[in-house]
Amino acid sequence: MNDMLALATAYLALIALLIGHSIHTSRRLKLVEERLAAALEANERREKKRNNSEPNQETLTMNNVDYEQE
C-alpha cells in the first residue's frame, strides 16, 4: 500500500469514526429527550383531565345526597 495513501486513509477513517459517533450519540439523545418531553406533557394533560373530572363527580354525588335528604 502506498505510504501517503495509508496515512491519509487511516487519519480520515479515525476522524470520521470519532466525529460520527459523537454526532450519532447527540442526535439520539436529542430525539429521546424530545420524546420524553412529549410523553411528560401527555401524562400531565391526562392527570389534569382526571383531576377536572373528579370534582364534577363529587358535586354530582353531593347533589344526589341533597336530593335524597329533601
Binding site: M1, N2, D3, M4, A6, L7, T9, A10, Y11, A13, L14, I15, L17, L18, I19, H21, S22, T25, S26, R28, L29, V32, E33, R35, L36, A39, L40, A42, N43, R46
Partner: protein, 246 residues
Amino acid sequence: MIQTLSSSRTTMSGSRIVGPALVYLGLLGFMITIWMALIEAPSMGDDWNAPESYRILFVHVPFAWVSFSGFALLFGGSLSWYVKRSERGWRFAIIGAQLGLLYSLGVLISGPIWGAAEWGVPWDFQDIRLNSFAVLAGVALFFALGEMNSEDTPQKRDSLSSVGIFGFGLVPLTYMATRWWQERHPGPLIGGGNEDSGVDPSILLIWMIGAASMQILFVGQALMTNRLLKTEQQLENLLANLEDSI
C-alpha cells in the same frame, strides 16, 4: 422524593453540560495530536518500509490504550450487575461495551492500514496480539449487539454479564502477548523491561497528549451515553405507566 427528583435533575443538567464539553475538548486534543504527529514528529529513515505511515501509530496506540478503559468499564459494570444487581452497574457495562467497541474499531481500522503499508500484509493470523485483540473487540461487539437486539430480562443481563466478566480475561493476555510470543506486532516500547524498550521523548510526548485527549473524549462520551440510557429508561417507564392507565 421531591428532593431526590431535584437532585437527579441537578445531576442531569450537570452532565448535560459536562459531557458535551469534554467531547469537544477531547476532539480538539485529538486534532492537535494529529497535527503534532504530522508536523512535530521526527521523520523516520530508510529503516522503515513506510516512513510516513508510521505517523498512524500516534493515534493507533492511544486508541488501543483507551479501548482498555472501555473493557475495564464493561468488566466492572458486569460484575456489579452480577453481584449486586446494580442498575448503574448494568448501564456502565453497556457504556463499556459500546465505547470499548468504538475504540477497538479504531485500532482494527488503523492497525491493518499501517500493516499493509509497513509489512505488506494487513493481518497476521499467527500473531497472538493481533488475534486476541480482535477477539476482545468481538466480545464487546457481542455484548453491544446482544443488549440492543433482545428483550431486557434479568436472564439476558446475567448471560451478557458473564461474557463481560470472562471476556476481560483476554485483556492481560493481549497486554502480555507481545512479551511472551512476539511474531509480527512490534514489542513493548514503554515499560517493556528490555534494552529495546524506550522511545524518543518527542514521540512519547505526542503519544501522551493523544492518550490524554482520547481519555477526556472517552469520559465525555461515557457521560453522554449514560444520560441517553437513563433518559431511555425514564421514557420507557413513563410509556408503560401511560399504557397501564388507559
